[in-house]
């Protein structure tokens, strides 16, 4: 994990140097003088050799300094801490919506295997995975916000304004989780111990929740962890559509204005979050399946 983190930071740091054109000239515009260029280069540390610049950048990162926005002049870390709560809420609500909805219909589909309900669930799940989230978002806005007026059309006005974005983001997750839960449950309910429990007269609820679901949840947990990454990326699109002031919409506006320190900081932060979530998922496995142990 350490090597991965260093690699990620190196890759993100190199973004500034791979970008075509001189960032200093870009910031100062067409009327930059050689003195002002030299002055800014020295302030940004761009006059030092690359390895030194990287070490300087990383020293800042470890102290919570991700640089300063080229455009607003604010600290990138400050921007992230202002916007992170909205993206985090969106991710949590979407995961909750996707997991609860996905697991519920996945379990019912498995219990009613090869019925119309099962086939319907599978088709709807596949449509949920295949439909572009920005497209779903637009029609949710049109119907529930514009015509029915149930929700605000855009912007952040508390929990209420996160309902439609969470449904938008969670639909694809729900589809993936429903498919995985169904196949995982089908595999588990064919096991001998389930047949034994059934023969001993265990009621349906006990059979599903106590005996089947916990074991069926192991691959589903992996998927939920992986979905988190997709949600982080999906948040970029969803936040833009709903005009939510989160990290996703910030990254799009930062790219449009070529605000590289902000893009760098956001991508580094999101990649770090993704790695941490994957690590947490690995740890949850050991709780769900005591046979798995990490050295």
């Amino acid at each position: 994990m350490g090597v991965t983190l260093i690699g990620v930071s190196l890759l993100v740091f190199m973004m500034l140097h791979l970008i075509p054109g001189d960032p200093v000239r870009y910031i100062l515009g067409d009327f930059a003088t050689p003195e002002s260029i030299a002055d800014l280069e020295s302030r940004l540390g761009l006059d030092k050799p690359l390895p030194m610049q990287y070490l300087h950048y990383m020293a800042g990162v470890f102290q919570g300094d991700l640089g300063t926005s080229f455009v607003t002049g604010y600290s990138v870390m400050e921007e992230i801490s202002n916007r992170f709560p909205i993206t985090a809420q969106l991710a949590v609500y979407s995961i909750l919506f996707g997991s609860i909805f996905g697991i519920l219909i996945g379990v019912i589909a498995a219990m009613k295997q090869n019925t119309i309900f099962d086939q319907l669930v599978m088709v709807i799940s596949l449509i949920g995975i295949s439909a572009p989230s920005f497209w779903i978002a637009l029609f949710l806005i049109l119907l529930f916000a514009y015509h029915l007026g149930f929700f605000p059309i855009s912007g952040y006005k508390g929990f209420y304004s996160l309902i439609l974005p969470s449904i938008t983001l969670g639909l694809g997750t729900a589809g993936n989780i429903a498919r995985m839960t169904r196949s995982s449950m089908l595999e588990v309910i064919k096991q001998d111990y389930i047949r034994t429990a059934q023969a001993k007269g265990a009621n349906l609820y006990r059979l599903i929740v106590q005996h089947s679901l916990q074991n069926a949840m192991i691959p589903v947990t992996t998927l939920i962890g992986l979905q988190f990454g997709a949600l982080m990326a999906g948040a970029v699109v969803t936040e833009t559509v709903f005009a939510l002031p989160g990290m996703g919409s910030l990254i799009v506006s930062a790219i449009a204005t070529r605000d590289i320190p902000t893009v760098q900081g956001l991508i580094l932060f999101m990649a770090f979050l993704f790695i941490v979530v994957n690590l947490l998922v690995d740890l949850i496995y050991t709780k769900l399946d005591p046979r798995i142990r990490y050295e």
């Binding site: 995975i129 572009p132 637009l138 049109l142 999906g234 799009v252 449009a256 590289i260």
Partner: protein, 298 residues
């Protein structure tokens, strides 16, 4: 060799056996044909490929011709899917846009597939390089794929070609992982050991013995990633980072349509529907291929 007279098979069973395809891919094709979902998926894709190729025959409206007397017209017999803010026919733009969207998917999967298969084979076959290549892939996998595509566009700049490259790079790690895993399983087989013992060169072993035996997972992954790539490319265009208007790429059409959503829903509905159907087609076909190419599934 067993002849008809030496077996206890009934003539009808023998005939069936003789008719049965012997090659692995022949059997897979037989299984695939029986899979309803895969056939529906394949038909959807064939429909979109044909309508994109024969777009000039299927419509008489020029793709970018503006008609200011016909702006924002609802679907009618004259304009089946309505018109946009410049009076351009949406049906025509979707047909031509299919060329761009499908091409974006094709280019992205071709680049990612070629690089991914090459790196995956090297990592799986030459264990000395495995650690370095997989470490690099772990680093790339630390970025959610669309996020990585966005980061690459930030570096390369906005545009159709750069979006294709960005999507391709973001898909490479999944190819490398799958190919490496398959090579690791195949390289320990006796026939590879025999070839090595006979002094067959590495590249010949890879091309003649390893690649044909790992083709199935690559085909399945490429099919599924095709849909993912089209979705990512559409998302980039929707964010204004990929294809730029007036390019009729489907994501770009939705991007333009969103500004007129309350007045002209058709500008957004139909291009989005096209994206969904194509991705659904690739998902259905990919699922079917996975079942058909898995020898454990009868």
């Amino acid at each position: 060799m067993i002849t008809k007279t030496e077996t206890t098979l009934q003539p009808a069973e023998w005939q069936e056996l003789e008719k049965a395809p012997v090659s692995f891919f022949g059997m897979a094709w037989k299984k695939l044909r029986k899979n309803k979902g895969a056939m529906i998926g394949g038909s959807i894709l064939l429909f979109f490929i044909l309508t994109s190729v024969f777009a000039p025959v299927l419509t008489h409206y020029p793709v970018n011709e503006m008609r200011y007397d016909e702006t924002l017209k609802a679907p009618s017999s004259e304009h089946w899917l309505g018109t946009d803010e410049f009076g351009r026919d949406i049906y025509t733009r979707i047909l031509y846009g299919g060329r761009v969207s499908l091409l974006m998917g094709l280019v992205a999967v071709s680049i990612a597939g070629s690089v991914g298969v090459f790196l995956g084979v090297i990592a799986g076959y030459y264990r000395r390089l495995d650690l370095y290549i997989m470490q690099l892939m772990d680093i790339l996998l630390a970025f959610p794929s669309l996020l990585m595509a966005i980061a690459i566009v930030a570096v390369l700049g906005v545009g159709l070609t750069n979006a294709m490259i960005a999507v391709a790079i973001s898909v490479i790690p999944s190819f490398v992982r799958v190919v490496r895993g398959s090579v690791l399983a195949v390289r320990e087989k006796e026939y590879i050991e025999s070839a090595r013992a006979l002094g067959v060169r590495d590249w010949k072993i890879i091309v003649r013995h390893i690649l044909p035996n790992i083709a199935s997972p690559i085909i399945v992954l490429a099919t599924l990633q095709f849909g993912v790539s089209i979705l990512s490319a559409a998302a980039l265009s929707f964010l204004g980072l990929g294809a730029q208007p007036p390019n009729p790429e489907w994501g770009a059409l939705v991007y333009v349509g969103k500004s007129f959503l309350s007045q002209a829903w058709w500008m957004t509905l139909y291009p989005g529907l096209a994206i969904m159907l194509v991705v659904l087609g690739f998902n259905l076909l990919g699922d079917g291929l996975r079942d058909a190419l898995d020898p454990r599934i009868k």
